[in-house]
């Protein structure tokens, strides 16, 4: 049995029939071919699949696609402007905030909402936020620096950029 859903992903409307057991993560990757959302643990621990649901970060592996009906989703594919990178992506590049890159999309999606609520975070605030994201390469240090740099860039570019 499938159900029809209609939702907006990265500003584009989609209508699809989905099985109830399909998670939002699998729907994004397999039905919409938006494979930038990564799937690590599939039970909510690793944070790799984090996307924005109406601007709030959620684990897309812990939500059924049928529950995203009539909602607005933003994935990593919807972050960058037409040319270049957005300030958080730019900061990760400049500060070497990634190695293999598997965890990066989820962290960037969380960081967007986090920096909106905490425009001047302490390193401790950033580490507490990162506790919800597993990275097995970097040791986190450069990720903290990247998010600090992104916070600074967003502050100097004025409000509204990380919304």
């Amino acid at each position: 049995m499938t159900r029809k859903i209609r939702l907006t992903v990265n500003g584009q409307e989609h209508e699809r029939a989905v099985e109830p057991r399909t998670t939002l993560a699998d729907f994004l990757r397999e039905d919409l071919e938006l494979t930038g959302t990564h799937v690590g643990c599939e039970h909510g621990v690793c944070g790799a699949c984090t996307v924005l649901l109406d601007d709030e970060p959620v684990r897309s592996c812990l939500m059924l696609a049928v529950q995203a009906d009539s909602r607005r989703i933003t994935t990593i594919e919807g972050v960058a402007p037409a040319e270049g990178l957005d300030p958080i992506q730019e900061a990760f590049w400049a500060k070497h905030g990634l190695q293999c890159g598997y965890c990066t999309p989820g962290i960037i999606m969380s960081a967007r909402a986090f920096l909106r609520e905490h425009p001047t975070p302490s390193a401790e605030d950033i580490r507490e936020m990162l506790a919800g994201h597993l990275c097995r390469c970097t040791g986190y240090h450069f990720i903290v620096e990247a998010i600090e740099a992104a916070a600074q860039a967003l502050r100097s570019s004025g409000p509204g950029r990380a919304s």
Partner: protein
């Protein structure tokens, strides 16, 4: 892994939700935030034949505060309560900060966390400490279950399979009461290895008028520290008495051994955390909870 197939309904009324649960003979599950249920489906620890999604039922998203109580509807997310708490309750703020991570709290509901009944989870211990109740609706109508009567075993409550928990009601600490919360976990946001939450009220500079203590991660259910409460109530809260109360409460626990910690370790940490949370609660007496 992926969840095994199931049927899915999203009723618009509570009666229809209860009807759908009752019609499935115990093999249906309520889906609200899904932050505990969907992992169990993915790991195939749970294989319901039907999910009853209550997210489209009107009237379950209320957060109502009165002088003595806070009622939280079944669709109130943990983040919603966190936002309420930011200006209203430092106790709730501190406890909620330890519940998983923001992306989980954005979806996870307060009621769902309370009735999922993970013994190492923070909100069940808070409900017990604040002598809260769960309101549930089933085929035979509505009933309330006190926190004392709710928890039976890990992930097991006294609610029936055809009952929907519609709200939880926390009794707010009396004016002038102080609180303490502490937990030990491997990483921030992990389930606690052990934790404790305490609320104390005292007559101006005098004896303790009310003491409540609850532990998480210290047994198969959240546990009230009744022994500590008895030692403290009616007596001067001297440092020696707080220590005696904490040790007595920890001695009554029967924590489990697992790969993360031994029962002995948990009991010793519980005594220390009880002492710290009671001392913190005493220090905050008079400054509001």
């Amino acid at each position: 892994m992926k969840p095994a197939p199931f049927e899915y309904v999203a009723p618009a009324t509570l009666d229809d939700a209860v009807g759908a649960l009752a019609g499935e003979g115990g093999d249906a599950k309520v889906l609200a935030g899904g932050q505990s249920l969907i992992p169990m489906l993915a790991l195939r620890l749970a294989r319901p034949t039907l999910l009853v999604d209550i997210n489209h039922i009107a009237g379950l998203d209320g957060l109502r505060e009165s002088a003595a109580a806070l009622e939280v509807g079944a669709l109130v997310r943990q983040r919603d309560l966190e936002r309420w708490a930011a200006s209203r309750s430092s106790l709730f703020t501190e406890v909620l900060r330890h519940v998983a991570h923001p992306p989980i709290r954005n979806r996870g509901t307060v009621v769902g966390n309370v009735v999922h009944a993970d013994p190492a989870s923070e909100l069940p211990a808070l409900l017990l400490c604040l002598e809260g109740v769960v309101v549930a609706r089933g085929p035979r109508g509505e009933r309330t279950v006190t926190a004392d009567q709710l928890y039976r075993a890990p992930l097991t409550t006294s609610l029936a399979a055809d009952e929907v928990a519609t709200s939880v009601r926390f009794t707010l600490p009396p004016a002038g009461a102080g609180w303490g919360f502490a937990e030990v976990s491997r990483r921030h946001g992990d389930f606690a290895l052990v934790g404790a939450v305490a609320v104390l009220a005292r007559d101006a500079g005098g004896p303790v008028s009310r003491a409540r203590l609850a532990f998480l991660g210290a047994g198969g259910t959240p546990v009230r520290g009744v022994a500590a409460e008895r030692i403290l109530e009616g007596n001067e809260p001297t440092p020696a008495r707080l220590g005696e109360a904490a040790r007595a409460a920890a001695a009554a626990l029967s924590p489990d051994d697992d790969i993360h910690a031994t029962a002995t370790y948990r009991r010793r940490v519980a005594a220390t955390l009880a002492q710290r949370t009671l001392a913190a609660a005493l220090a905050r007496c008079g400054s509001g909870a």
